[in-house]
């Protein structure tokens, strides 16, 4: 027997949860009941249909109801139906764990950054979240080891992981998020991120290929002179949506939202972002590169909004897609909305095919056609991956992208 997402929702919304989540869940359920799933009439959902999620058959009772903590060697947290935490000694005052025991300063922020009132998938997440993983780094503390978060998708299972990251003044941290699992499962992740004055967060995300449906909604607030840099590498997935709404709240804040996706088959990958400059001297950077084969579809909706007082804003946005097959498609909608008069903002969007002259040149030097193609595609995505300012992570991402291309070549050869 299987259930639809809607039935699964009805069954789980009344389930047990930590007291710290009670208000969030109640509000989320009320909001989701009112909003329902977004339809293509909603502006931000024009190009992405949620039918593959609504119709996904789920196995009832496949969800573990409550989180459990698990402590061991590496700084690794699995955000499954339960939070499995294996983290070494953390610097004093740093908290990484369930919302239940989180510092009050962090708890107070839960549900205040991501809007369940207007975002249906945030509401759904809120309604069904079993727990929330909190990373809290107090003033002046630098977390040198990255925190690795594993977000699994299991076949027939819907999961609603929730993340809250609070970096106080001049604190710093790196989060590596690995979205794993190739089976037909659904993950609705909501992340809320608040960066205090001078704080610095690096947020690197890798999403595995396969049949998973993943909706990621991040809401980020960047304080004065704080810096949030994120990169997402998507290697596939039946339906993937990476939405990030970032707001620069303090003067001199910086946001960088980069992404690259390499997809084929029936993959659908949607990158929807909104960067609001609400303070002076802010900087935002965005490079999104997509490589599409088969019948895959890419969506990029990127809005940059500069509020009236946000003078001296420096905004840059580039979206480029490379179509490798006739049946692949991409919808690109960059948007600039500027209410300040002294700003520097630019954006560009291109969609193209492999450069035949370059391909000829490589082959004329003896490089076989498939290898030549892979070289060109790798070079294309590298331009985005190179934005990652951590050499180890950057090399790992480049290797993952190259591996993905090598796998495609083998598939074509067989």
């Amino acid at each position: 027997m299987s259930a639809t997402l809607r039935q699964d929702y009805e069954q789980r919304r009344t389930g047990a949860a930590p007291a710290a989540l009670a208000q969030l869940r109640a509000q989320g359920a009320a909001d989701f009941d009112r909003l329902g799933f977004p339809t293509p009439r909603a502006e931000r959902w024009k190009y992405t249909s949620l039918a593959p999620i609504e119709n996904l058959p789920l196995t009832p009772g496949a969800n573990d109801p409550l989180p459990a903590a698990l402590l061991a060697g590496a700084d690794r947290v699995v955000l499954g139906a339960k939070i499995e935490r294996s983290v070494g000694a953390l610097p004093g005052g740093v908290y990484l764990g369930s919302i239940a025991d989180a510092p009050a300063a962090a708890r107070a922020l839960l549900g205040t950054l991501a809007s369940s009132e207007t975002e249906a998938l945030v509401a759904l997440n809120a309604a069904l979240a079993n727990d929330a993983l909190v990373l809290f780094v107090p003033t002046g503390v630098a977390l040198t080891r990255p925190i690795e978060l594993v977000v699994p998708a299991r076949p027939g299972v819907a999961s609603y992981p929730r993340l809250l990251v609070v970096l106080e003044a001049n604190a710093s941290a790196t989060i590596i998020e690995r979205h794993e699992g190739a089976g037909a499962g659904f993950v609705d992740l909501t992340a809320e991120i608040a960066l205090g004055t001078g704080a610095r967060l690096r947020h690197w995300r890798v999403q595995a290929a396969g049949e998973a449906r993943r909706i990621v909604t991040s809401a980020v607030r960047v304080g004065r002179d704080a810096s949030y840099r994120a990169f997402t590498l998507t290697l596939g997935g039946r339906l993937v949506r990476n939405q990030c709404d970032a707001r620069i709240d303090g003067d001199g804040g910086e946001v960088e939202l980069d992404a690259a996706y390499l997809i084929g088959g029936d993959s659908h990958v949607d990158t929807t972002t909104r960067i609001v400059h609400g303070a002076e001297h802010g900087t935002s950077r965005q490079t999104v590169k997509g490589v599409l084969d088969g019948h895959s579809r890419g969506v990029f909706q990127g809005k940059v909004l500069v509020e009236q007082g946000a003078q001296k804003t420096d905004g840059y946005q580039l979206s480029r897609a490379l179509l490798l097959s006739r049946d692949a498609e991409v919808d690109v909608k960059p948007e600039l909305e500027i209410y300040a008069d002294d700003v520097k903002c630019s954006h560009g969007a291109t969609t193209g095919r492999l450069d035949e002259d370059a391909l000829f040149y490589l082959r004329a030097r003896g490089i076989p056609a498939d290898e030549a193609r892979a070289l060109l595609v790798e070079a294309f995505v590298a331009e985005a991956i190179e934005r990652v300012d951590d050499e180890t992570v950057r090399d790992a991402l480049l290797a993952l992208a190259a591996g993905r291309l090598a796998r495609d070549q083998r598939e074509l050869a067989t």
């Binding site: 082959r363 004329a364 030097r365 290898e371 060109l376």
Partner: protein, 252 residues
């Protein structure tokens, strides 16, 4: 030995090569001169196998191998090298990666093992110095941000690394200043070899003062109209192509 016989090629329904016959014996350097639009670059592209050119007749053999039946990369593996009139820029693919991948592909065809990064750099260092190609240029994307002259030198570097049996140089001298012309010519002369043939396409006698050819051919209206020794180039410089039905080229 390169043997082209009665080659005909069409592009966009227009016949450009109209029964071209030419032989370049192993170890010899031949020059092709001819008016703009005569079909010189077309000939080089047809030999290399570029898409868009339809061969409607004739044959091309390199050391007995039928080039026209091979894929582009197989022709390179068979020993053909074409230095392009307009080298292509490839952002994001570093020159070293490009060259190592190319060399290893060609070595594979010759039944030789791959060179690792260190072995390759050793090979490369020897060859870059004489051509005045810097480390920085090697790190950059292929030809990206290179000046016209640097692009041409990069073509010669590739030829030096890949060691082809037959090299076609399509106007490698165009856009070079006097010093660069010397560097490039010396690079080419250093690669003259009893086992290597070269076909040098040029508009200018000047290049042939440095790279002295064994034979000079005039290509006009899709055919070799006349062949002779190096003195033919001087004659063309003086009288132009009028007798072949073409216009005299304006001096650069």
């Amino acid at each position: 030995m390169l043997e082209i016989e009665n080659l005909r090629a069409v592009i966009d329904g227009k016949e450009i090569l109209k029964g071209l016959t030419l032989t370049v014996p192993t170890g010899e350097v031949h020059a092709i001169m001819g008016p703009n639009g005569a079909g010189k670059s077309t000939l080089s592209y047809v030999l290399a196998g570029r898409a868009g050119y339809e061969v409607t007749g004739g044959s091309v053999k390199l050391d007995g191998v039928d080039l026209l039946s091979l894929e582009i990369e197989q022709r390179a593996a068979a020993g053909l090298f074409l230095a392009l009139q307009y080298p292509v820029e490839i952002p994001g693919v570093p020159t070293t990666t490009f060259l190592r991948t190319a060399l290893n592909s060609i070595r594979k065809g010759r039944g030789e093992s791959d060179l690792d990064a260190i072995q390759f750099l050793r090979v490369l260092r020897q060859k870059t110095k004489a051509l005045g190609i810097t480390e920085d240029m090697l790190k950059r994307g292929v030809n990206v941000g290179f000046s016209g002259g640097e692009k041409k030198r990069n073509e010669i570097l590739q030829m030096a690394v890949l060691e082809p049996k037959l090299a076609i140089l399509d106007e490698t001298d165009s856009g070079l200043d006097i010093d660069a012309l010397k560097i490039v010519s010396e690079g080419v002369n250093a690669l003259r070899d009893p086992n290597r043939s070269m076909l040098v396409i040029t508009h200018y006698q000047r290049l042939l003062d440095y790279i002295v050819p064994d034979r000079v051919h005039v290509l006009a209206q899709g055919r070799i109209q006349r062949s002779g020794g190096p003195e033919l180039a001087r004659e063309l410089e003086a009288h132009g192509y009028a007798e072949f039905g073409g216009e005299r080229e304006a001096a650069a």
